[in-house]
């Protein structure tokens, strides 16, 4: 659906995008991940026909975006990271205006706008003034605007930025629904947790370079990080958290509530410094963190490495009551791939 080949964008002597190449398959949600200033917005603006690259090509289906921007615009819906609305315009008029701009036939347009507003939960706001809507509502309205000409590809630049948690969940659900309807979605964020649960593919951009791109599982595998959750019976140590923190290299700021079941049975800071030292000395262990009362061990290697770790712990006499692999989070992967830059 979307093919980006060797994209380069220079602003004077500064190279903002350095040979970015990736492909987005039809019907997928592609998470475009990277810290602020990595080149996400520039890349997305080029794809959306709003910026000419210094080099490289972009195809939407078989349409060359740079050669035929008009045809490309008919196939894409773009939502920028920052956007405004017009004063003194009602939601319905706003949608009608963009439908006019896209040349959507007048026949059946009212029904179309009604269904789009319903999709983004704004059906009851049809006669409200756009500038009076909340930030979350404006974001959803902008999404509905992107869909007014029924594009195949949606380019959403930080669609959840500045939204409260509830609005983020709503936005995520809408994107899932759009995927079910066959849309291909390229969505960016610098907050990985936002993308973790909804993307089928991710691309990680760092300092203008694409450092990884592909299905989420593949990226996780390629990052070589597997995380094992270990729980020990008994052991208490007052300063264990500090000890763990000193060793931590990755996963230091996980989102709250990631493992609520663990926190309920065993309080944080329940591991002894000796136990942590034993685990760290095991072969293949990259880092150990204490989280929600359990230990999260970042491990290099395949299943054999995990088996060897378990044997090492048992041999050392640690009372292991739980030993299971966690699906590693995008944050861990991102940190592993980009070498611990900004998150």
């Amino acid at each position: 659906m979307l093919r980006v080949e060797g994209l380069v964008k220079r602003y004077g002597s500064v190279e903002a995008v350095k040979g970015v190449t990736f492909t987005v398959q039809p019907g997928s949600i592609y998470g475009f991940v990277g810290p602020n200033g990595a080149g996400k917005t520039t890349t997305m603006k080029i794809i959306a026909t709003l910026l000419r690259p210094s080099d490289g090509r972009v195809f939407i289906g078989d349409v060359d975006v740079l050669q035929n921007p008009g045809a490309a615009r008919a196939r894409l819906g773009y939502m920028p990271d920052f956007f405004g609305v017009y004063d003194n315009l009602k939601v319905n008029e706003y949608m009608q205006f963009y439908a006019d701009c896209y040349g959507v036939p007048v026949a059946g347009r009212d029904r179309l706008i009604g269904s789009l507003l319903e999709l983004v939960n704004l059906a009851d706001k049809r006669e409200a003034y756009v500038d009076g809507l909340s930030r979350g509502m404006k974001q959803r309205l902008c999404l509905a605007r992107c869909l007014v000409h029924d594009p195949d590809l949606l380019i959403l630049d930080e669609p959840a930025s500045g939204l409260d948690p509830r609005a983020r969940v709503e936005m995520r659900e809408i994107l899932q629904e759009l995927r079910r309807r066959g849309k291909t979605i390229l969505v960016s964020s610098h907050i990985l947790a936002e993308l973790a649960e909804m993307c089928t593919h991710i691309g990680i951009i760092h300092e203008g370079r694409m450092v990884a791109s592909g299905p989420v599982e593949q990226i996780q595998r390629e990052a070589g990080t597997r995380v094992i959750e270990v729980r020990l019976a008994g052991g208490r140590a007052a300063d264990a958290s500090d000890a763990a923190g000193a060793h931590a290299q990755a996963g230091a700021s996980k989102p709250a509530g990631a493992h609520p079941q663990a926190g309920a049975s065993e309080p944080a800071g329940a591991m002894s410094a000796e136990a942590l030292a034993v685990i760290r000395s095991a072969p293949g262990v990259r880092s150990v963190t204490v989280e929600d009362g359990g230990l999260r061990v970042s491990l290099e290697g395949e299943d054999e490495a995990a088996a060897a770790l378990l044997a090492h712990l048992v041999r050392a006499g640690l009372p292991v009551v739980h030993f299971a692999e966690l699906k590693s989070k995008l944050e861990d992967v991102f940190m592993a791939i980009t070498g611990g830059g900004e998150r």
């Binding site: 026909t49 709003l50 956007f83 017009y86 006019d100 040349g103």
Partner: protein, 285 residues
């Protein structure tokens, strides 16, 4: 959407008209505008009739009122159009809505034309709303419908010219405030200073018997002279400024159509440059 459809039923124009006419500001401005013109007409009538008996046919009075109203209307349009047009594109940029517009199927040319029509359309509405005031002068006689038609043509071209200049600054400069200041600055400076340059060219610095042709640029690009030539007596006396080179009445009267022609060329050039400025994929950065 065909390109033709986009120009005829321009969404940018329609949206701006809808929003502008929704508030009380627009009718208020129309009332104020017509009121000011009417007040001027009454004042001049009172001044012209001082010490005279009122008579039905007074062509002298009619011509004076018409000349005053015509110039006053030009001043009002010069004040109104940059204010309406200079924020058109810079405002979209500041509001962060320009990109949303440029990713639609509207071409940049359609966006620019829509903006021009929206900004100048209101000024033209003001102009047409003032017709009843001009109609009053028919009571006195002293000017013809032909002259009124020519003047209207010069007004329309002038409004488009002022709109195109303002829109250009709106596309070139990022902030609305700067664009408005630049548009007012350039327009008023040119309108006020070009007669001065004309005087210097034809009456001070150069030989009156062999004056330079290029000095006519000051006549052919100034709406005040275009209007003066179109409106006839007594306004056309202004064009005597260029008598050393425009020695016949016909040559002086021709100022109006030459002004219109040059203005249309400038309008075309500025609109083209404006479209280039907002064309997203045009310029390599």
């Amino acid at each position: 959407m065909s390109a033709r459809w986009g120009f005829v039923r321009n969404p940018v124009f329609l949206r701006e008209v809808r929003v502008r006419m929704r508030s009380w500001r627009a009718p208020g401005l129309i009332v104020l505008y017509v009121g000011l013109l009417g007040l001027l007409a009454v004042l001049i009538f009172a001044a012209a009739m001082q010490g005279s008996e009122p008579v039905g046919f007074a062509p002298g009075v009619g011509a004076i009122i018409y000349a005053a109203l015509a110039m006053f209307q030009l001043v009002l349009l010069v004040l109104a159009v940059p204010g309406l047009a200079a924020g058109a594109i810079a405002g979209e940029r500041e509001r962060q809505t320009l990109d949303l517009l440029l990713v639609t199927r509207l071409s940049p040319a359609q966006v620019v034309v829509g903006k021009l029509l929206a900004a100048t359309g209101f000024a033209l509405l003001l102009m047409f709303a003032s017709l009843p005031v001009f109609g009053l002068i028919f009571l006195f006689g002293g000017f013809s419908l032909y002259r009124l038609g020519l003047s209207a043509l010069v007004y329309v071209v002038t409004v488009l010219l002022l709109g195109a200049v303002s829109l250009y600054f709106s596309a070139v400069l990022r902030r609305t405030q700067t664009a408005v200041v630049a548009a007012y600055g350039v327009i008023t400076t040119w309108i006020l200073l070009s007669p001065l340059f004309g005087v210097l060219t034809y009456h001070v610095f150069f030989d009156r018997t062999n004056p330079p042709v290029w000095g006519l640029l000051f006549a052919y690009t100034n709406p005040a002279f275009g209007l003066a030539a179109a409106a006839g007596q007594p306004l056309s006396e202004l064009t005597w400024l260029y008598s050393p080179i425009l020695s016949t009445d016909a040559a002086r009267e021709a100022i109006w159509w030459k002004y219109c022609l040059i203005a249309l060329l400038i309008i075309g050039l500025l609109l083209w440059r404006t479209v280039q400025r907002i064309q997203p994929l045009k310029a390599k950065e």
